[in-house]
Structures are given as C-alpha cells and as structure tokens.
C-alpha cells in the first residue's frame, strides 16, 4: 500500500516535471512577450525590465534557473502584479476557488447519488422518468447559461440574491448551483446505470433471499458496489472544480485561481503561468492518487500495485 502510494507520487512528480518543461518551452516559443502590449515603454526600459526578470538570457539558461529555483520552492515574482510572489498569489486565490468548488462537489454527490439510486430502484416508474428527464436536461445546459439566467432572474429581476463576489453565505448560492448542476445530473445518470447493473447481480438476489429489506438492500449491498464509477469521476471533477472555473469566477466576479490563471495567459505573466500550471498539475495528480486509494478501500478485490 505505502509502496504503491510512494510509486504513484514519484510518477506524479515525473509527470509534473514533463508538464512544467513542456509548458515552459511552448509558452516562451510563442511569439510575443509580457512587455509588448505596453506601448509607452521605451526600448531601454523594456530591456531593463527583461533583464530584471532574466528574460534577456538564452531560453535554456532561463529554464535551468527556473527549475533550480523551483527545487528550492521559489516560484518567482509575478510580472504583472508587481510586488507579489507567485506563491502568495496561489496561496491567496486557491482557497477561494477550493472552498467554492469543494462545496459544489459535495452538493453534487449528496444529491446525485441518492437521486440516481432511487431512479434505478424505481426504474420504469414515474419517479424514475422524472429524474431521467431532469438529469438529461441538466447536462444539456452549459454553466455560463445557468449562471447568467440565474443572475437575470434571481438578482436583477427579483433582487433575491447578491450577484457579485463571495462576501456573504447567500452569495455562495448561485455560483454553487451553477457549478454543481452539471456534475449533479451527471452523477445521477452514472449512478442510475451502475445501480441498475448491480441490482441485476446474483448477490442482490442472495440478499433478497436472506430476507433483507429493500432499503438495506439498496444502501448496504448495492450502493458500495455501484458507487465505483462515481468515485472514478470524482477525481477529475474535484480537480476541475476546486482549481476554479474561469467562467463562473468571471461572471460572478469571484477572486479565484481560475480567473487569475486565464488572465495571466494573454498578458504573458510567465512566472504566474508556470507556477499555476505546476500547481494545477500536482493537484490533479494528487486527486487521482486519492481516488485510487479510495477505490481500494471500497472494493477489496482491487489490489494497489
């Protein structure tokens, strides 16, 4: 077990290293640079700025310097946000996105799993059809539409909820709904089909033959078997939502990591792009390791090796 985790983490470090290297070179080879858009800057001033951030050196030297610093935990200074280190920016922005995304994932699981299970159990009945219709419709609405429509009706028309920021508990409602609608419906569909699969298994018949009641049969015997596909989906989902959705953060003006990252790309804030990319990569890899471990805990047949 421990050996497996260590192995996976080493693999992850390798993956992150490759991602960092790729990003570094692609980013620098693309025409343009951080100071091109500032027209007022004189060539001398630009040269001075480039020298300050080490951009005047040969690319490969820059790469070695960056990787060396990275090993010491130093991700450098942001070019556009003067005076802030990349570590500071990530440290400030990530918790905002993570809290919002974590909440959305929690909502999605808490609603999606029971909905899907109930639908499977009542398959072919009215309740099942209602759940199918809503979950299929739910995965057909992009989140930018959910958020703009909610904003239009709930904030602008009815003035029920604050439309911007994350200052009060109420202000979480719309972003969380917007973020969790798709995963909730997706999980409900996933859960329904995997539950249907499990309900048809021989061991469910054994449970019935023992005299186990319906509720216990579904929630003890079936759920633990049927939840595996949902757990698989949770890895990428957690990674995607907790690192911040650019669209949602832009629409609701939330100061999160997703927004910060996407704004950094056109302005070529190289250290910030690199730092965030590496951070995101590590986070995704970590989530996948956690999902694998959870998998082995849920299903004893799976051996981690």
């Amino acid at each position: 077990m421990l050996k497996y985790i260590v192995k996976r983490i080493l693999m992850g470090v390798l993956t992150a290293f490759i991602v960092a290297t790729l990003t570094f070179f692609i980013m620098n080879l693309v025409p343009g640079g951080p100071f091109l858009s500032e027209k007022a800057v004189t060539p001398q001033a630009q040269a001075a700025m480039e020298a300050k951030y080490g951009l005047d050196k040969p690319l490969f030297m820059q790469y070695l310097t960056y990787m060396g610093d990275l090993l010491h935990g130093n991700m450098g200074l942001s070019i556009k946000k003067r005076g802030f280190t990349v570590t500071d920016i990530i440290g400030n922005k990530f918790p905002v996105s993570a809290r919002l995304g974590g909440l959305a994932v929690l909502v999605a699981v808490m609603i999606g799993v029971p909905l899907g299970s109930v639908a499977a159990y009542r398959r072919g009945k009215t309740l099942d059809n209602i759940i199918i219709v809503f979950s299929t419709a739910g995965i057909a609405i992009p989140s930018f539409l959910t958020s703009t429509l909610m904003m239009y009706f709930l904030s602008v028309k009815l003035k029920l909820l604050p439309s911007l920021g994350l200052d009060s508990p109420q202000s979480y409602i719309m972003p969380v709904i917007a973020l969790s609608l798709y995963p909730t419906c997706y999980i409900a569909r996933l859960m329904r089909s995997s539950m249907l699969d499990v309900i048809g298994q021989d061991y469910m018949r054994t449970a019935r033959a023992k005299g186990v009641g319906t509720f216990k049969a579904i929630f003890k015997h079936a759920l633990r078997n049927a939840i595996l596909p949902v757990v698989t989906y949770l890895g990428p989902l957690l990674a995607a939502l907790m690192t911040g959705s650019f669209i949602i953060e832009k629409i609701f003006t939330i100061p999160g990591l997703g927004h910060e990252f996407v704004s950094a790309i056109p302005s070529r804030d190289y250290p910030l792009i690199m730092g965030t990319t590496i951070f995101l990569a590590c986070f995704i890899i970590m989530m996948n390791v956690i999902v694998d471990i959870a998998y082995a805990f849920i299903d004893p047949r799976i051996k981690l090796k």
Binding site: L22, T136, F144, V156, I265
Partner: protein
Amino acid sequence: MEKKKNLLSFQLNADDFLPATADEKESLVIMRESVGFWQDGFRRFKKNKIAMTAFVIVAVIMILAFIVPLFYPYAYEQQIKGSERLGIMEYSASELDRIAAGESVFPHFLGTDQNGRDYTIRVLVGARVSMTVGIIASALILLIGSVYGAVAGYFGGNVDMVMMRIVDVLYTVPDVLIIILLAQVLKFPLQNLSKVPGFGWITALGPNMVSMFLVFALLYWVGMARIVRGQIMVLKQNEYVTAAKALGATDGRIIKKHLITNCIGTLIVTTTLQIPSSIFTESFLSFLGLGVQAPMPSLGSLASNALNGLQTYPEKLFAPAFMIFIIILSFNLLGDGLRDAFDPKMKK
C-alpha cells in the same frame, strides 16, 4: 384400468396412435426468427420513442442550420443601416416606409443586433458553426483516440506504460493555456496559408476555428483513448484473438478486423455522446472570446455578446441559449438511445 380410461373426456380411435411423420412434427416447431446484431439494434432503436424524437429534432436542426441559411433573405454578416437593435418582429423606420410603399419586407423574427444584423440568421449560422465544430471535432477525437487506445491496449506492457503516461501529461496540461497560446501561434501562419490556392477554406472557417480543431485533436482525444484501451484490454483476452494469432494474422489485422469491429458499438455511442460535449466546449470557448472570429457567429459568442444588453433584450440571450440546450439535449438522448439499442451490456 377402466376408471382411468373414463378420465379421458374425448373419443379415441386407433388412427391417433399411428406414428407421426417427420413433416408433421416439423410443422409443429415454430421458431422465432433469428436477428443479427445490427438488425436487432435498429429494431430496438426504432421502438425507442424518445430516441426517435431526438433523431428527428437533430435532423430538423441540421436542415435549419445547413440548408435554410442558403436561401434566407438576409446574410449573417449583412449590416442593415438604420435597423440596429430591433426587438422581436420589429421593423426599422426605413423598413416601415418600404412596407407602406407596398414593398414586402422579410420580418426580423428575433430582431437585429447592435450592428443591424438579422438575429435569426445569426442564430441559425451560429448553430451551423457549433454543429460543424461538434461533428468534426468528434470525428477527429474518434480517429485519434481509438487508434491510440487500440495500439496501447493491444500491445500492453511497456508500450502501454509509455503511451498512457503521455496521455497523463496531456490530461494534466491546462487546456485553456494551450488553446490561447496555439491560437496566437497559428494566427499568422494560417492567414498566410489561406492565401495559398486550395487553402481558401481557412479564411471561411477562420483561423480560430482551425486552431480549435487542432486543439481538440491534440488534447481531447485522451478520454476516448482510455475507453478504447480498456475495451481492447478485455477483448484481446478472447479466444478468437488467440485463434487469429495462431493462424498467423498480423497485429494490424487483428486490431482492425477483430478488436475494432467488436467495440464498434461502444465507439459509435461514445462518439455520439462526444458531439454534445464538443459543442459544449466550443460554446465555452466562444463565450470566453477564444472561439470563432467575428463576424462569424457561434452560439457561445452570441450568448456572450447578449450579456451586456440582457436587461433590455433578454431574447438575444434566450435564443442562442435555447438552441444550445436543444442541440445538446437531443444529441445526448440520441446517444442514450443508441447505447440502449447497441450496447450488448444493456440487453435484458
């Protein structure tokens, strides 16, 4: 003995106990007709009302998006002076004059945008762009993903190890980063290329759209590759693969003839479900301004542009929003129907 005979409520005669001929026996056997995989699947699909409805809706939208714009009175980039920002079914002053003069003016069902462009045709062309992106991107994903996944799954071992690590890396690189950078890299080369005879279509599509396809081809096939790899890993354990090997079939032949054929059902279903997801991604990117280039509309960019005037002209948002919803919904339902019909696991 007598008693038992009385139990028989009908008259017996000696002829009844003559042996029956083989023909007589044959005539009694009523066999259910046997049906093949595709036949069976199509029959099930046709019975599925929801899936058939979705199929019809997809067909109608295809006609609206691809055929209707060809003879629509307005063009999507045509700016009508004086007709800016019209509401639903409104006419501009000059158009009203023309109507008064007895001319017939084709109505603006959904009004016009801030540049005086007819909004109905923009939504229809937007749907065309979104569908094109969805279908071509899914085809690219299918091609690359299935070949890559099949090779990795079939050879296994170290080949699989290395190939799947590459997938991991691609999966981990933030896609927005690649899309933004790639769009910038490709802008000038593509513009130059479009001037070369034979590549004029690039201008028509816009460099952004071409780079969007490239991004799909580069990044989003990893999901498909993983699914196909998993299927192939299971399928290659089958005896018929061993049999084919024993007969001296080459690896390429086994992948093509035996493995891909056997997971074709999964491929069709996954691709159908990939189309809405590609449309989704396209509308996200266009919403962010990373998608198609103006004046070419896409449903995402139309929705994004409508945000500013949301209070005054909500229909400018609702129209493309509803179009996105209905396209994605019907493709999803179509995919579900196909899966129910063709996935052997779903048979009951």
